[in-house]
């Protein structure tokens, strides 16, 4: 893991949808499970961004804890699809972004707000066209998530998209 960059540590964390405090809790939990001592929560919350920026390298015990945490989450998937850990990270990131994106109803709400407060920068027709296009993309996302789910032979990749 010596060649894992700070950028990858950030990508691994974000691929799980974890913020820095959650990453700190996971590191402490992994350490506790193997009976190791690690820095206090607030110390880890300071160190994790430094590791991710590359301004400081994690010590060996922390590198091993990262491996322990992410081998389970990403290693299994990368072996199942035989595309490598990098692709597994990208897949997890894309799925996380899909679950965080707004629903069609939320998009329509934004459209209604924008139409109610018209400005010169966009006409009502442009706002409506943008909304329609966005909702069409949401439907494509639902289709792609379903295809992906079938290809990966798992469940749960639909996330919030059933409502789109």
């Amino acid at each position: 893991m010596n060649d894992v960059s700070g950028e990858n540590l950030r990508r691994w964390r974000e691929s799980q949808g974890w913020d820095v405090p959650r990453m700190a809790r996971e590191l402490r939990k992994a350490a506790r499970d193997s009976g190791e001592d690690v820095a206090a929560h607030h110390g880890l919350v300071k160190m994790i961004p430094q590791w991710e920026r590359g301004s400081r390298a994690p010590r060996e015990r922390y590198r091993l804890l990262y491996l322990k945490i992410f081998q389970g989450a990403l290693g299994d998937l990368s072996q199942r699809i035989a595309l490598g850990v990098d692709f597994a990270i990208r897949l997890a990131e894309v799925r996380t972004r899909a679950t965080r994106a707004p629903s069609a109803d939320e998009i329509r709400g934004l459209e209604a707000d924008a139409l109610a407060k018209l400005r010169e920068s966009m006409t009502p027709a442009e706002i409506r066209a943008l909304t329609a296009e966005t909702i069409a993309h949401l439907h494509e996302i639902v289709n792609n998530l379903a295809k992906l789910s079938a290809l990966l032979e798992d469940e749960g990749s639909q996330g919030n998209w059933g409502k789109a």
């Binding site: 699809i81 994106a101 998009i107 924008a114 949401l138 998530l145």
Partner: protein
């Protein structure tokens, strides 16, 4: 790489593209609303300043 792996790659790339477009559109709509809020705030500031004179 198997046909299934290639298909997974293709679907993920397509999914990424659609999500990026949704994120961009949402950013445009939110910026439009923020622009409005900024103008309202600027108008309110102007009103307050005029009132203080």
């Amino acid at each position: 790489m198997s046909a299934r792996d290639e298909e997974i790659r293709r679907v993920v790339a397509e999914l990424d593209e659609h999500i990026t477009k949704v994120e961009a559109s949402v950013a445009v709509l939110k910026a439009l609303l923020a622009e409005d809020d900024d103008e309202v705030s600027a108008a309110e500031d102007q009103r307050r300043r005029s009132g203080n004179r």
